[in-house]
């Protein structure tokens, strides 16, 4: 992998990867701000700021911004999650300068017009309402809130409705000015380019931007959980769901890789490799325990690499005429088994083979390559991704047993049931 990594004088971290498979380039700017940096009263603010960044600057007004990229055959988008807000453009390589121009400009000169803030408030609320139509969103929101009573990972990125109704333009602008600065950002580029030339372009567009004098540290730490927590959500979705959420370590913790293998054995396919696509999980232990036994329609798991300890989630869709309790019981029996007996060598080998394939899929497109450069830099550094397979390969059967006994214990667990109540 031909990669250049450096830091500009103003603190901007830059990663550039040459990849000459197609005449396109993907340019990403990552800010180290997300729902992790929010508190009650301003939950959802990072995501809302992301929306406001599409409302433009003096030089790049609203419509000109997205239309210019579209006109050149590119696309742009943005995402906000726990630890980051990111913006990206993928374009024909000879037009990539447009991405640098736009992103450098809106790093410090976004307008936050009062009328635009008002129009976007209803759009954001509509986005939340759309999510509320999904029973799994409602369940996940309650489970996370119960699992975290101190750390901001306990609220969803979209934010609480009351905060979306009351936040002001000044709140949003203050958040923007606090966190949007070169010394709190990462530029990640991959594509058909010359790394040296790209670095010079980045210096030209971003080099003169002033760093922020102080990025507020996020100091909250979730205290250890001292007993199982339970939540119930009732609604009229026609289907019941079960979620088990265990506190899991941060991305840089050595146990994360053992937990990745454990999750693969339990529910299939290297869940910490976000965005690599789905494999079926029909030979996983939990599938056999609840789907083959005709208790659940499906079961899946997620382990998201984050800056701070987060949750390892297992979710199952209860079949009609079956009870959520039955599904939970069957899931927990499998979890006890994996704590009692080591997994087999074959299971370990299979998990590693699956990770190898998923890793190959995850770096297939240029856009995905740039995604991983930046994403891994947010919670660790790019070597996390580069060494992913070798670290996974080093995991032993004993490491997996240790991870199961350390993390999948009842005291560390929040159980959520979604009960469908026909009105």
């Amino acid at each position: 992998m031909n990669l250049l990594k450096t830091t500009l004088d103003n603190g901007l971290t830059v990663l550039v990867r040459e990849s000459h498979t197609a005449p396109v380039t993907s340019f990403w700017v990552w800010y180290r701000v997300g729902s992790r940096n929010e508190h009650l009263g301003i939950t959802g603010i990072s995501h809302w700021v992301e929306h406001m960044m599409f409302k433009g600057t003096e030089r790049w007004p609203r419509q000109k911004l997205d239309q210019t990229i579209a006109r050149e055959g590119g696309y742009l988008n943005a995402m906000t999650w726990y630890d980051f807000t990111t913006y990206y453009e993928t374009l024909p390589s000879d037009k990539i300068f447009l991405a640098l121009d736009i992103e450098a400009d809106r790093m410090s000169r976004a307008l936050f017009d009062v009328d635009e803030v008002a129009a976007e408030r209803t759009v954001i609320i509509s986005e939340r309402q759309g999510a509320e139509n999904n029973p799994l969103f409602l369940l996940d929101e309650e489970v996370a809130a119960a699992a975290f009573r101190v750390h901001p990972y306990g609220h969803d990125t979209i934010g609480h409705l009351c905060d979306l109704q009351t936040m002001t333009r000044d709140d949003l602008y203050r958040h923007y000015r606090t966190y949007y600065a070169p010394n709190n950002a990462i530029v990640a580029v991959s594509g058909d380019l010359n790394a040296g030339e790209m670095l010079r372009m980045i210096e030209q567009y971003f080099g003169a931007l002033d760093p922020s004098s102080e990025i507020p540290p996020m100091l909250a730490q979730e205290p250890s959980q001292r007993g199982e927590r339970r939540v119930w959500v009732e609604g009229n979705a026609g289907t019941d769901y079960v979620m088990l959420a265990y506190h899991s370590p941060e991305a840089t913790h050595p146990d994360l890789f053992a937990l990745t293998v454990l999750s693969t054995v339990l529910a299939g396919g290297a869940s910490s490799l976000v965005g690599s696509g789905a494999l079926t999980n029909h030979t996983s232990r939990l599938y056999r325990a609840v789907v083959e036994r005709e208790l659940a329609a499906d079961v899946s798991a997620s382990l998201i690499p984050t800056v701070d300890p987060n949750l390892y989630r297992i979710t199952a869709t209860v079949l009609p005429d079956r009870a959520a309790d039955q599904v939970e019981e069957a899931l927990l029996a499998e979890i006890k088994r994996v704590q009692r007996e080591p997994i087999s060598r074959d299971e370990l080998e299979k998990a590693k083979q699956q990770a190898q394939a998923l890793f190959a899929y995850s770096s297939e497109s240029i856009t995905n390559q740039a995604f991983w450069l930046g994403f891994s830099e947010v919670f660790a550094d790019y070597t996390w991704f580069r060494s992913y397979l070798s670290r996974l390969d080093a995991v032993t059967v004993e490491d997996v047993l240790h991870a199961a006994q350390t993390y999948l214990i009842p005291q560390n667990r929040t159980v959520g049931h979604y009960r469908s109540i026909e009105h």
Partner: protein
């Protein structure tokens, strides 16, 4: 006109293998050694169109069980073999076609081809898997009934297509038909309709095209079977009035709405013109004119866009939005106003040029992945577009005039006679 560097990067006749085997299977293959992966994407002619109304969902049910074991491999053996190496495969049911997909590291392509061939040709339909699939489909139907987006779409199709047309129905089936379909019906459906006639298989990735062709020949060349002839699709009468249907779904906070008409089939001479018109209306930039009006200026929706499907038959042309229940009527009015404007006024030259530029420029980005290329190749084959289609694409789009776009909108989108389906909280009772 010489090809530009961007155009040369697109799949074309020079770097795509195309060969039709004696049994009717067309093989397409293209190399991409950027990553060590390979994908398979293909289809054969078996789908919802081949099932009767009292067995609605039969095609989808059959595919679901086909994925669960063959005469050579039990469910356990099948998935142990595939999952052990991080590969995957799947079948999907459409109105006309069964699609199949597969993905693996390139070195496992022979295994992947063998598995897909086995599943398509030798399914065992084990009794216990029929029972399990039935339960899972019933669960999925229940979930759909509470999904506002899915319900608005399902109801919209019932408004614009007559009952004797396959597009009227959701091919997942109904609870009563799924409950009553027997194992024998699944076996019979497979026996009658799964044949190599008209089958297409595209293989794209880190495999030499000769190797890809060889893998298909080894696993499919000895399959030979006829299938019953299909009757032509029934005609779709145009709408004679505005039809509006609301589906109340309790315990929801947002309404989804689908507004539109029957559109042109993919092979229609009008399709590309409609595609360009649709880009202006509901795609370009942040969801075209609809996004600008409904979302950006009025803040009514998080998503609002439009799409024209094309397809074998006349797929729909529709606008789709998720809005606060109190804003449904206002959103419908704004969508209709934008369409009316397209009917009455020529699109300004600059705006049309922007949309053309977007369509032609973004082509390489849609083809960034092996899946994207494989899908493009199977589409080219399905609709007889020619292997040079992607390289001709720019010229095709550039040739469309504003007058043609206006005429197409006038032909297909009659703002006095449209259908709209709304699913969500009961209107008038929310908030």
């Amino acid at each position: 006109m010489p090809l530009t560097r961007m155009q040369r990067a697109l799949p074309g006749p020079d770097d795509t293998l195309r060969e039709t085997l004696p049994n009717g299977i067309t093989v397409l293959a293209r190399e991409n050694f950027a990553s060590p992966a390979v994908v398979i994407h293909g289809y054969l002619e078996a789908g919802g169109e081949d099932e009767s109304l009292d067995q609605l969902g039969l095609a989808n049910f059959t595919l679901d069980v086909m994925e669960r074991g063959t005469h050579r491999r039990s469910f356990e053996q099948l998935y142990t073999e595939v999952e052990a190496v991080g590969a995957s495969f799947g079948l999907g049911a459409g109105s006309h076609l069964t699609t199949f997909t597969g993905k693996s590291l390139a070195k496992h392509l022979p295994m992947l081809c063998d598995v897909i061939s086995d599943v398509l040709r030798n399914p065992a339909f084990p009794n216990e898997q029929v029972t399990r699939a039935r339960g899972e489909i019933l669960s999925a139907i229940r979930e759909l009934k509470h999904n506002t987006r899915a319900m608005a779409n399902e109801v919209f199709h019932t408004l614009i297509y007559p009952e004797n047309h396959p597009y009227h129905w959701n091919n997942i089936g109904r609870e009563d038909t799924i409950a009553s379909i027997s194992r024998e019906a699944l076996v019979d459906f497979h026996k009658r309709f799964f044949t190599p006639r008209g089958m297409v298989i595209a293989i794209v990735g880190a495999v030499k095209v000769e190797e890809a062709l060889k893998a298909v020949k080894i696993t499919f060349a000895d399959w030979d079977k006829e299938r019953p002839t299909r009757t032509p699709l029934p005609p779709v009468p145009p709408l004679r009035e505005c039809i509006r249907k609301e589906v109340p779904i309790p315990d929801k906070t947002q309404s989804d709405l689908v507004l539109g008409w029957v559109g042109p089939p993919r092979r229609s001479a009008d399709f590309m013109t409609c595609h360009l018109a649709n880009t202006v209306l509901g795609t370009f930039g942040m969801m075209g004119r609809l996004g600008e009006t409904v979302r950006s200026q009025n803040g009514l929706a998080y998503y609002v866009y439009s799409r024209v499907d094309g397809g074998t038959g006349p797929g729909p042309w529709r606008a789709i939005a998720g809005v606060d229940p109190n804003n449904v009527d206002r959103t419908v009015t704004l969508i209709l106003q934008e369409i009316q404007k397209l009917r009455e006024e020529l699109i300004p030259a600059g705006e049309l040029a922007d949309s053309k530029s977007y369509l032609t420029g973004s082509l390489p980005l849609h083809l960034e992945t092996n899946e994207g290329v494989a899908q493009a190749l199977t589409n080219i084959e399905r609709y007889d577009l020619g292997l040079d289609y992607l390289q001709r694409y720019r010229a095709t789009i550039e040739a469309i005039t504003a007058t043609e776009v206006q005429a197409a909108v006038q032909r297909w989108m009659d703002t006095a006679q449209y259908a709209v389906a709304i699913a969500g909280p009961e209107l008038g009772k929310s908030h």
